[in-house]
């Protein structure tokens, strides 16, 4: 195994196997992965900050086995910020908070290609700071169907004076976020609200939408998964890589861009690759910035 000692933002790190190809059919090594996260760090770090990270590690690349790690690996450097979470089996679980570049590089050195975080901060795990809709197309539906559903969802929420933000999942779907950032909001609120929205959507667009989990309902439809609004659930962090054939990113979009895409009526790929992600973020800034700050109250609860 090859190792290289580096110093990042004053932190000493020993990086291993930098030449290992983690996306073999595309050709993207661990050094490339570290470089992507270094270049996107100023955009992704605010969205990881103070959230309990779930690592999804691919030590032998995207074509081989992966494993989830909710606990912060016990051999973490002393400067990695952690939070203790009490679990239901009476055990304390230490989780990593990726609050700086050094920690991000350390986590990527563990080949955690995907970074998953809950819609709540580790210090207040029962207070969601956003409401999320995970739009997941059935196996005969596509991202175009998803875009249509997302646009209806945006309009519906706008009628209730709720601003929403959209990103690609980096897989087949789209994720819609509604910033809340009020400490009185509970997961019971976001669950109740998102479920009602999903049911209304299904009622009005039965050909396009299902609010039911079961695969047989999904097929040609877009499943609006509202159940991600739970303290035990995590979502792929905006700007995180996905472990697919190519290093695609879960990337924020302008609503206008999605409208154009849906209007063209083609199924042209909406995926954003690593290099495009960096250049677009540099140019347009963080389209998801408001998700962290905008205060909104869910009405009619």
């Amino acid at each position: 195994m090859s190792r290289r000692a580096v110093e990042i933002a004053g932190r000493r790190l020993s990086l291993s196997n930098l030449e290992k190809d983690l996306y073999p059919s595309y050709g993207f090594t661990k050094a490339h992965v570290l470089d992507y996260y270094r270049r996107i760090s100023k955009f992704i770090l605010p969205h990881l900050k103070n959230r309990a990270l779930t690592l999804k590690r691919y030590p032998d690349g995207v074509e081989k086995d992966f494993f989830f790690e909710k606990r912060c690996p016990s051999h973490h450097p002393s400067w990695v910020k952690t939070e203790e979470i009490l679990r239901d089996d009476e055990e304390r679980m230490t989780v990593c908070l990726v609050n700086d570049l050094g920690t991000l590089m350390w986590v990527e050195n563990l080949a955690s290609l995907e970074l998953h975080v809950p819609p709540a901060r580790a210090g207040s795990p029962e207070t969601p700071d956003s409401m999320v809709f995970d739009l997941d197309p059935g196996d005969q539906a596509n991202i175009l169907n998803c875009a249509r559903v997302a646009l209806i969802l945006r309009d519906l929420l706008a009628e209730l004076r709720l601003a929403s933000y959209v990103k690609t999942s980096g897989k087949k779907g789209l994720h819609v976020y509604i910033p809340l950032n009020l400490k009185e909001t509970t997961f019971e609120d976001t669950k109740k609200f998102s479920k009602a929205v999903a049911i209304i959507m299904q009622k009005n667009y039965p050909e396009l939408v299902t609010a039911k989990m079961a695969k047989e309902y999904r097929k040609t439809k877009v499943f609006i998964n509202w159940s991600q609004n739970d303290s035990s659930k995590t979502m792929i962090c905006v700007y995180s890589l996905r472990a697919r054939e190519k290093p695609v990113v879960s990337f924020p979009l302008e609503w206008k861009e999605l409208e154009n895409f849906a209007g063209r009526n083609d199924t042209e790929n909406l995926q954003v690759l690593h290099s495009e992600a960096v250049s677009r973020a540099e140019k347009q800034g963080d389209l998801f910035r408001d998700v962290l700050t905008k205060k909104q109250k869910l009405p009619h609860l």
Binding site: M1, P77, D89, E159, L160, I200, Q202, K212
Partner: protein
């Protein structure tokens, strides 16, 4: 796999300073389980419950109290606790050397290794060798995490081991344990000595595997092969639409946007 350092700095005494990194020496092998709801396999959540008001308490209403008498508490804030945390150590300064056998194992808390960082290899080897020959341990104060520890540094198989020690206040008195009554007969003594000799062997910890952990892991492997794992429900089925007011507002908005489309 080479372990990531949990601390790095220098170890020093008198005029020697050696750059080192601290790594874990043990990893407890406990198997942990999630608690599930038997009816639908949902993983269960832990909430804080106020028995007085019969409600769940949100995190921003939870504070710390130190119980000084039944139902009497001194309140302490997180900031107050943080202000008491010692400054992180940059060096492990050995203040004293002592004989290895002087340190009663009851003081041993948690073992680590110190590994040499770049440029420190030669001085490190020298220190390991000197400590091995003299059979001495170095004592030092060292801050790890939030706590200041008394630590013993000793040579172990060509490397330096660091063991955090309990403070003497943490050691419970043992003077009552050795019985004072009863005479020991010379014959009994030599018979027992013989028995011990018969059972003598080298210390071979591999012989004593954690058999419960092994049995649990084997059980899990076997069960995983025999039967697919149970699945936690991913979404509640959409029964009950929600608050009538919200449903009405959503439906009305829906009509509006459908008209505009």
């Amino acid at each position: 796999m080479a372990e990531q350092a949990i601390w790095s700095g220098t170890i020093s005494f008198s005029l020697v300073a050696i750059p080192v990194r601290l790594v874990k020496a043990v990893e407890p092998g406990r198997v942990s389980f999630r608690m599930l709801h038997s009816k639908d396999y949902s993983p269960l959540a832990r909430r804080m419950f106020c028995p007085e008001e019969d409600i769940m308490v949100p995190p921003d209403e939870i504070i710390r109290g130190y119980e000084i008498a039944p139902d009497k508490y001194i309140l302490v804030t997180d900031d107050e606790l943080e202000s008491l945390s010692p400054e992180r150590s940059r060096t492990i300064e050995i203040v004293e050397f002592t004989d290895m056998k002087e340190v009663d194992p009851v003081y041993y808390d948690h073992p680590y290794y110190l590994v040499p960082s770049k440029g420190g290899e030669k001085a490190y080897r020298l220190l390991v060798e000197a400590m091995r020959r003299t059979n001495k341990v170095g004592l030092a104060k060292f801050v790890l995490g939030e706590r200041e520890y008394l630590v013993a540094v000793k040579s172990s198989e060509g490397a330096l081991a660091l063991i955090t020690l309990h403070y003497s206040k943490e050691i419970l008195p043992d003077d009552d344990f050795s019985p004072k009554e009863g005479k020991v007969e010379a014959g009994d003594k030599s018979r027992m000595k013989r028995d011990i000799k018969k059972m003598m062997g080298d210390f071979n910890p591999e012989k004593y595997a954690d058999s419960r952990r092994k049995k649990i892991m084997n059980l899990l492997k076997k069960k995983a092969k025999e039967k697919a794992p149970v699945q936690a429900p991913v979404a509640e089925e959409a029964e009950g639409e929600g608050p009538a007011d919200l449903i009405a507002a959503l439906q009305e908005s829906m009509h509006k946007i459908k008209r505009n489309r």
